[in-house]
Symmetry: D2
Subunit: 414 residues, 4 copies
């Protein structure tokens, strides 16, 4: 019933959302924001919020930039007011002085965004607004500061507790699958047939996080292959002619592609929760699974080689492997974290550098970015907490004996 | 598919939710909050958040009060840090100084609550936690200040844009109906048969707001009768022997009971949105509806009469009506708003004082609170914005000629 | 999506169903049946089918009897036509002669009923029509013959392959639960609280078969208790104060009440399939379940005792048990099958007479029907096929040593 | 709830369906059919029915033919038994004699098929079995007679009252859309992009009938374009560059493609019901729709022209239109019905020959079959009953003035 009713009301709201308000509100945008922020909250703001969103939707980039500058400039905190409120609170800590401080310390634009969000369907529009903001901010500090407010609110709204994990499969609605094709960021999906090969077989899975108010928009998704043993190349994993296995016969789940879908949710991190939840769900369904591992690109490898003036041929597989292990294990940024962004992500999640493979991604992109090399990060959920603490506290990289030996060999050779 | 998948994943998560973590974490509660607030957010906090919620669930009131004091004292803002960050921001407005100010100005307990909310199912637990807080706060300002943080977060999480309106009817799950019986706060539901009489007939409706992560818990609900003409008594409206009409033959929708369900969401206002949305939905379904009106109690009437030493008999209907009109229209608090709380709510929503009826609620409670009188507030959605502005700005009460005349008569008689 | 769309279309059809055709068709009922049976099937019959059903719905019993006589008399097979078609087929077996025979050998009323069934929602109406027929048939052979046609069609339409098993629980729609209360035929449900005690605890289950075109009407349902060990009394099983257990801790599933819901589906047998499917589903969910057993009444016991002039006191428990075992094991009808109808049902399903209990149903009805005795029939699914064959072929009753010994003792005592 | 529960149980059953029985039953197929037909119905047949279906699924065509011969020969009616039962019934019409006649007159293979259908998921398998039978029957009368039994049962099981109409759209599961691509029989769907152009725009619709036990298999579907005015060519209707309109602005619904999906349901007619229901649903949703019309091929036109030795060029549009009108309006089979099969279908449904267009289908197939001509059949639901009766009784073709004039011109020219 729950879901049934949900559906009906959602359908209803969607219909409403399309219904235009009819009369356009042509006042200056500053008049609308002033009215919205001044409205006695629940009772009267909805119509003006809707007008503001409609007006925004029609803006070109210049107008959007103007709107963002308005928010950054006119809806910022008032420092002297914060100062006064802070002093009053310091003098006497009461509910009233605390409330005054809270109000003064939060810029009005946060409340404005919350009120815009009252309109059914607004959340997706606001995510789009932030994507615009990120695109148009350039090096203007005021706009970057404004983005911190969006990000603060979105981190609260897109809290893990509000997200829903859904399987994506060949029975999913076509419009969702269409987006999966578009959003796939690691190994391009060429066609609906290619997509089907990644979704339909019993040894393939895909999962995405959704937010209940954006049911048509995946936030992040992961593609999984169920295999016997840890695979060493993406072309083998995705080969049309590969042998399928029964899911029940698999001992390994391979996360071979993770893609974020919403630019407007940049820096709101879902990846760790997704991997953890998917691993938990797969374990519950398939108790024979023993190993959870990625098959990951090494996007910064070729660039680093070039920086070091190291020439290497992809078919010199031993050298490639050793250099890749060295790059992942030893090469750091100034903050002590690995230079490779994918390594930072998985090691930061508590994974282990498990195996390095040469000739593992022979696509144009794979050769160009990483000389064809790939890496397995291993998720051993019993050790994840310890690994992740070591990485966070001391930048310690958890790595297998094999990877350590390879890295050592490369160091020696250098 | 969307909903289907939703369901399956939800079912799955619910199963998980029940699964205990096995080993209880017995460290002092302060160690847990410190670890949670210190965790690199997404990656590691989930387990400790779960432990904290489990520990809280086992606390008695004394321990809960201790926990709240800990949050109020140890997870408050640090004024000197705010001062420093504010000064730095005043010197130079950059992204970095703004971020530092934001972090300093928000008490850590807000982030703590957000992190607790990562646990699937935690939102309902946190709503319960605030209900405890409100119950246990007494006159301690520090706890009332802490409540402002809960309320600030809940206002964001329970934003209108995240709520789903659902019809409640005789096909709703029994466990939801059970809660409707429990939560009905205006006209008690005596039995399942009584409930059925309010839900099953085609001229009766009920709607509730739900939050997607609390699908089993209505937040607020309204009971509606579809009638011909504006009704003048609750006993007539709810009589077992009344004549039912076809919904299509009704010209009036009567909101005769609105009940908030969650004590932990006190001061988060849903009523106006609910009335507006339900009216919009009913209009779309039944285009013949012309009038949207309440049949409301006057809970402060008898008390005011007593304060004024006015003795009145419920069966002196003319006098009762005039006095009730006078009370609603003329009697104000020090802030200029009506003394009657239900009047404040509906007039604050832009409704009109439409008709006053004597002998309209002859239940024990109705006689005791309001000498049997009731009132219709009329929602004319074309005038709601104007009314509500007049009420907000100048405390002007919109009232019909009839009510004005009654009030005038009572003033003259006084 | 499948289900989602299903729902929407179903909702739509339901709306349509309620929409009247507007103009009533007032021709004699015989004109309507003639037109319907004459219609070129798909194209034109729908409107007249709807008219016929509407007319039937308004008939009183006398008119219904008239309608049934019309079907029995005017829509029967034409023997001479059958004879001719049979001879033609005997001369030459071709597709054409076979088709002619098929048409002649099936009475037109079967096709009439199929065409009535084209109207959305008609199936439930036709089930109701048969219930009327059974009620009104008296000893008229022609009406009993007509019933054979209904039954023939219904056996095909309500084939096991078309039925859907659904759990009934405290989240089921209230209108379904209402029917469960009404239809419970073995141990009366006194109130919604009583119902809740049978549905909500984790050690209680209920399942029903539904037909997809009658989604609001259970066909048959079974109530199940999950226990440790085989229970010996219904009052213990249903006691308000009983100790609940976790479903995972149960080793036994007790089918303690099976109720058919639709009089119009009399003689269409669902019970065996229901027990088998529910046992399979419970086994899959709870692998620790080892024993599947009933706790059944012995409805013919007291009557048989009276026939035999045997006086027995319910509290003479040893004697009651022995006599009950003897009655169930030894007392037969003229066709060699057990006299007790519940015994015929479960033994015919391949169950074993497992244990007999005295003082097991101390309700008024239990004492009156069976001197308070009850019986467990054991379903050992590995032996069910063998038992059921023995029972069908040689009327062999499978019984435990204990029951055999009790029966022998009673025989000796007699 | 209804649907929700439905889903869960369906999911459950699907899982079960895949579970093999483990031990294969290797007895001769005749032993299995004998056991199944002899089983005391509900109690014991399920396992053997499942075995039979599994065995059938593994058969090659020769074995299947052997199985069909077995059914045709060994499970036919016994003429002498029918004769005896008929005589007994003629002597005395009782329930018992009627029952005996019914049993004798129905061949055991019908009951066998019903019992096979008890297995969850069997219905789709039996539809496939009939498709095999039709494919393998050749000119063997015994197998065609056997098909009459399948068809008789399927007509009962796939009765309109059991079917569910569902919209097919861009939110439908990919596996359903995949089948739409495969089954489209009139205007080929070239790609997923082509499909999307037929489903996603607001002025395009698609609907299919489904049977509840075959939720993954559409039975028949129709593609609809919403237009202003009656369209005169399929290439205009399907052009990528066409101007879309809002559904609310359309005055005409064009059924431009109707495809049957299941060969095993040949001669079970769904088309009329589908058109009627879709028109009713669209009318309810879009009250501005005034005209319901097809844009149909004339598949027999070129063939007839060749038979008549008439040479005509597709770009001689006037002549093509006149000849096409003449062909459709005047050219009949020996039974007096139109020679063109699509004309027979729509005129038999009560439609009117409305307009004929030349150069309306310039695809290879359109030119080859019908010299590029197409026709609109108009569904005027107020006149459908009269038209259809005229067509059925007197083979009268309802046609517009325009089509009559064109046909007359062609007759004159001939």
């Amino acid at each position: 019933m729950t879901l049934l009713a949900d559906l009906l009301s959602t359908v209803f709201e969607r219909r409403h959302r399309l219904a235009r308000t009819g009369s356009r509100d042509d006042r200056p945008i500053e008049a609308l924001t002033a009215e919205l922020i001044g409205a006695s909250v629940e009772a009267s703001g909805l119509a003006v919020a809707r007008s503001l969103l409609e007006r925004y939707a029609e803006m070109d980039d210049a107008a959007k930039r103007g709107f963002f500058h308005h928010l950054a400039r006119d809806m910022n905190i008032d420092e002297s007011e914060v100062q006064r409120a802070l002093e009053a609170y310091a003098r006497e800590q009461t509910k009233a002085t605390y409330r005054s401080f809270m109000q003064a310390a939060e810029p009005p634009r946060q409340e404005l965004i919350r009120r815009l969000n009252q309109v059914p369907g607004a959340t997706a529009a606001l995510v789009g607004m932030r994507a615009d903001l990120l695109r148009l901010s350039g090096d203007e500090d005021a706009l970057h500061a404004l983005d911190l407010d969006f990000r603060h609110l979105f981190a609260s709204w897109f809290n893990r507790g509000f997200l829903v994990l859904r399987p994506i499969n060949w029975g999913s609605p076509a419009f969702i699958l269409d987006k999966i094709i578009d959003y796939e960021a690691v190994h391009r999906i060429d066609s609906w047939d290619d997509l089907r090969r990644r979704l339909e077989p019993t040894d393939r899975r895909c999962f995405a996080f959704f937010h209940p108010v954006m049911p048509d928009e995946p936030l992040i998704f992961v593609e999984v292959a169920l295999t016997r043993g840890v695979p060493g190349s993406i072309q083998g994993l995705l080969a049309e002619s590969r042998d399928m296995i029964e899911a029940e016969d698999a001992d390994t789940a391979v996360f071979y592609s993770i893609s974020n879908c919403q630019e407007g949710l940049a820096s709101i991190s879902f990846g760790h929760s997704l991997i953890k939840q998917v691993a938990a769900d797969l374990s519950a369904e398939l108790p024979t699974l023993e190993t959870f591992v990625t098959l990951s690109p090494i996007p910064g490898f070729a660039h680093w080689l070039a920086d070091q003036d190291i020439a290497v041929q992809p078919d010199d597989t031993d050298r490639v492997r050793a250099l890749a292990a060295h790059y992942l294990f030893d090469v750091k940024r100034s903050d002590g974290l690995p230079r490779d962004p994918v390594a930072r992500f998985h090691l930061g999640n508590g994974a282990v550098l498990h195996q390095v493979h040469a000739a593992a991604d022979l696509s144009e992109n794979g050769l160009e970015q990483s000389k064809g090399a790939m890496v397995n990060y291993l998720y051993d959920f019993e050790k994840v907490a310890r690994n992740l603490e070591g990485f966070a506290v001391a930048q310690t990289i958890a790595a297998s004996q094999e990877v350590r030996a390879l890295a050592a060999a490369a160091r020696k050779a250098a």
